[in-house]
Symmetry: C2
Subunit: 219 residues, 2 copies
Amino acid sequence: MRLVIARCSVDYAGRLSAHLPSATRLILVKADGSVSIHADDRAYKPLNWMSPPCSLKEADGTWTVINKAGEKLIISLEEVLHDSSHELGVDPGLVKDGVEAHLQELLADRMEVLGAGWQLIRREYPTAIGPVDILCRDGDGTTVAVEIKRRGEIDGVEQLTRYLELLNRDPLLAPVKGVFAAQEIKPQARVLAGDRGIGCVVLDYDELRGIDDDKLKLF
Amino acid sequence: MRLVIARCSVDYAGRLSAHLPSATRLILVKADGSVSIHADDRAYKPLNWMSPPCSLKEADGTWTVINKAGEKLIISLEEVLHDSSHELGVDPGLVKDGVEAHLQELLADRMEVLGAGWQLIRREYPTAIGPVDILCRDGDGTTVAVEIKRRGEIDGVEQLTRYLELLNRDPLLAPVKGVFAAQEIKPQARVLAGDRGIGCVVLDYDELRGIDDDKLKLF
DNA sequence: TCATAGATGTCGTTC
DNA sequence: GAACGACGTCTATGA
């Protein structure tokens, strides 16, 4: 990892054209060859960047970074204030908990949080337009398609609607009801779901995990 | 901007829980108070971060970053290999070219690329659920709503569908057809559009701009 | 390699 | 502050 603080101007030509006027910035060159340019604000997003794989050529105060798609980043260095390199080694990587895949596992394990007698048919039930998160039967034996999101917004309801339309064409499954399950459901999504006869369920992640933990303790 | 290279482990508790085992990384503290932690790969995305506004407390080899929503980032420093601060000043910011707004201007100027006799009614035609990119009439005088995207995906087709449903309730406009125009149209979007009787048009940005340039040269 | 869906998406604009 | 759409979205995953 090489850290350069320099007054520079930058041009990007690729999916769009962009220009950075002269100013002092951080230029980050990583071991994988990637380059990013940061201003002194915004944690997440660099002003400009080039993702690997790409190649960096230094020549005469001008750095040129090119990738395979022909996108180009040209950095004109006017004054270098700091330049240091550091050996970091391979990162062991991030361990995450609480993402959609995990919610799906937890819910599939405890269908009864949706109602008494609910039973899993299968997770990732395949359809022509993609897999349904959970297909199950409710207490009455009616087929139910469950769409799970971390944050329930309108496009999630649209997605579930498409699945339902398709599943209801299958005489072996029809009628199929829909349930939209998320840790948080936005008002508009709730309204749209209600309008389409789709049920809404707010999932409590800690509770789901707690239930699951209790279950594990039994063994 | 403060640059710290350190062996550290990190925990994030907020929208999800995440843990970074001990390793050497770059910790970036920006003037706006934001903090990000970078491994030696990936130009764009930090391993962990906290966006401003947030507050950083340093105490005894442990940094705690908290934001208003109660999200928390805890950095345990085990060995500091580099620590430097730099004054960068305010960045003048990025100048961009080639985005959707420009596509819309170009297409509105040359409706005939959609077909002979097509005529603009207006850009950003207002509806209750937001403006339609372009409303026009085709060669037969039928009203057409055009949705423009740089990359045409399924969401864009859904958006256009909602507009069409609304516009077709207006007896002065109905029947209204739909055209989905983008620089690139994904297969799924094309299928969904076809299923709903929506036409698809792939736009060539350079060609549109070229035509427009030629036009400018006439004056 | 390509297509698809998720993301601690982030970021801007508008209401 | 919430909602909505764009983004050089990026990134992981499965075909």
